[in-house]
């Protein structure tokens, strides 16, 4: 027992250190680079220097949002994959991101965000995501039987339909809206609103804690639903609660940052290969690794074509997709 605990602690420490290193890296790297040695100096010196405001007003909010969203997305991925026993399920492939995109685009096209304030953007994204979630929920949990192939196909179709809708909206919208829509779809961690960042942080940490109430249920689910029932798991209730939890995490993340694909797919997959299938360690390590991955990708997005900036969704898509194909050729996908 102790051996296991020590092993897990080491994994958590390693993941945290990686996250810390990547965070510092992202704080000092950027168009105006701040030397590592001086970072403490600027922080202690307090307000007034331009470096201080770069760190606290530009880079720190981005870092924190990256932590929250990266963690949430990969947590949602672990939960959905564990529940459906399929390594390809994640918010992006289920069409949740697509739903959120429709909501936000509708908002932009109707100019709601100009009339009622910028906060309506995440709200409408969340409504769109919620609609898709309900749709998937009722399509898949009918009669309490989940048909996973049908579910995945439904998700992919919803993604297609929503991207067609978005193209339709882009075709009819004004040019000044167009850039906003395009940038949002590609996903970005730039978010000027501190309230949203704080909300995202609380939600992600809360989601992590909540997911731990289900770690044994998820372990039992890996044997199949009927077997989970035989091990005393109330599968219907657990499935509902987990589905709601994953949707909350994914829906909120997507509506704040736009579509950031593959985080929920790639990170859990790799963590499963490294730490094994036990959700007691998989949940926390995926959360930390997801946060690190997204912050890392965001930092690259900032500097790769500086002074211009790439949307982070593009980077996660490219890195994530390539890593995933590599992993598929190296090792059989098991869950």
């Amino acid at each position: 027992m102790n051996k296991k605990l020590i092993h897990w602690s080491l994994i958590i420490v390693a993941c945290s250190l990686t996250l810390l290193a990547i965070s510092i890296f992202s704080l000092i790297i950027g168009p105006a680079s701040i030397p590592l040695k001086k970072i403490g100096f600027y922080i202690l010196k307090g307000r007034g220097t331009p470096e201080y405001s770069i760190i606290f007003d530009i880079r720190l909010p981005r870092l924190l949002l990256g932590l929250a969203v990266g963690g949430s997305l990969s947590l949602a991925g672990v939960i959905l994959q564990g529940m459906f026993r399929n390594p390809l399920v994640e918010p992006y492939t289920l069409g949740i991101s697509g739903g959120a995109a429709i909501g936000v685009c509708l908002n932009m096209v109707c100019n709601l965000h100009l009339t009622y304030g910028i906060l309506t953007l995440p709200v409408s994204g969340f409504l769109g995501a919620g609609f898709v979630i309900l749709l998937i929920y009722f399509l898949s949990l009918r009669k309490g039987v989940v048909k996973i192939q049908g579910l995945l196909l439904t998700g992919v179709m919803i993604s297609f339909i929503s991207s067609s809708f978005i193209m339709l909206m882009m075709a009819v919208s004004h040019t000044e809206n167009l850039q906003g829509i395009v940038f949002w779809i590609m996903g970005s961690l730039e978010e000027p609103n501190w309230l949203l960042i704080k909300l995202a942080l609380w939600l992600s940490v809360g989601g992590l804690i909540a997911s731990y109430f289900f770690c044994f249920d998820l372990n039992a689910f890996s044997l199949g639903e009927e077997e989970a029932l035989h091990l005393g798991i109330n599968i219907e209730r657990t499935k509902k609660l987990l589905f709601i939890l994953a949707s909350l995490l994914a829906g909120f993340s997507v509506s704040v940052t736009g579509i950031i694909g593959f985080v929920g797919l790639v990170v859990p997959h790799f963590m499963r290969m490294i730490v094994g299938g036990d959700h007691r360690i998989l949940l926390i390590s995926s959360f930390l690794a997801g946060a690190s991955f997204l912050i890392f990708c965001d930092t690259i997005a900032k500097i790769i074509i500086a002074p211009m900036e790439l949307p982070v969704g593009v980077i996660t898509g490219i890195i994530g997709g390539i890593l995933f194909i590599y992993a598929l050729t190296k090792k059989k996908v098991v869950i």
């Binding site: 027992m1 605990l5 372990n219 044997l223 009927e226 035989h230 091990l231 005393g232 094994g276 098991v334």
Partner: protein, 272 residues
């Protein structure tokens, strides 16, 4: 121990089980036999609450199973499924999953006792030597033993097995059924086992229940149930029942079409 009263259940609005009445006493070893699709596995699924009853009730130790908590039920009944559909964990981790129903609220790690029980169960099923092997790497027979070890880790009072010997060679068939018999005798574990092979059922079970088209067609000792008239009626095939010379349990021999034609109308080879 287990009492099924007037039980009927539907699956996709088709009647699968009808009018099932059955009583299993503590320490019994009951074999459930019947043709494919007769409802044997459905019966097991009904006992573990996977399928809702249409009518009737199932009592476990005098309590209606639908009025018990799911966790409470899992502490009393363990199921050995036909096959295992998970690969990426070690045998020990897999057996420890059987302890889940016994975890306390907010318990996060297995206790020393859990490890001790898992070790004992692996020793009983001769899988202790495989403890650190990955499930994918072990043979079919060993996997079946691991499944049994996990069920035992649940410390059940009633053990249900769904064709544990399917796809196994005779060495492993005998190994597994000997093990179950030993568990039944030594741990006083009540066992209900679904078996396809009539001869294995006859050899190992104290009592047989023959299910046909969702109803109990016959039940009783192997000698009573494995009557050639009953078997021919249910399985719609010609058989000869002999006695095993060592255990003197009934033994079912099949008759091929060619032989049947040779014998003609006169079937004097059939004994009881």
């Amino acid at each position: 121990m287990l009492e099924v009263k007037n039980f009927a259940c539907k699956y996709d609005s088709k009647c699968i089980l009808k009018n099932i009445n059955l009583k299993v006493n503590k320490g019994d070893l009951v074999g459930i036999i019947g043709p494919n699709g007769s409802g044997k596995t459905t019966f097991l699924r009904a006992v573990t609450r996977v399928l809702k009853p249409e009518e009737g009730t199932i009592f476990l130790e005098g309590k209606n199973i639908w009025k018990m908590g799911i966790k409470e039920l899992a502490q009393k009944i363990a199921v050995v499924p036909q096959n295992l559909n998970s690969g990426a964990m070690s045998v020990q981790e897999f057996v420890l999953l059987g302890r889940i129903p016994h975890f306390k609220k907010f318990q996060f790690l297995e206790t020393k006792q859990d490890f001790e029980i898992a070790r004992k169960c692996m020793a009983l099923t001769d899988t202790l030597r495989l403890k650190d092997n990955i499930l994918e790497e072990i043979s079919g027979g060993e996997r079946q033993l691991t499944l049994i070890a996990r069920s035992l880790a649940q410390e059940p009072r009633l053990l249900l097995l769904d064709e544990p010997t399917a796809h196994l060679d005779i060495t492993h068939q005998v190994l597994i059924l000997d093990l179950i018999k030993r568990l039944n005798r030594e741990l006083e574990l009540t066992v209900i086992i679904v078996l396809h092979d009539l001869n294995l059922a006859s050899e190992y079970c104290r009592r047989l229940v023959l299910i046909n088209e969702g109803r109990i067609h016959a039940s009783g000792s192997p000698e009573e149930v494995l009557d050639y008239r009953i078997i021919e009626e249910v399985y719609k095939t010609v058989v000869v029942i002999e006695k095993n010379p060592i255990s003197s349990k009934p033994y079912v021999l099949i008759v091929s079409e060619e032989e049947k034609n040779k014998e003609g109308k006169n079937r004097k080879g059939i004994k009881m």
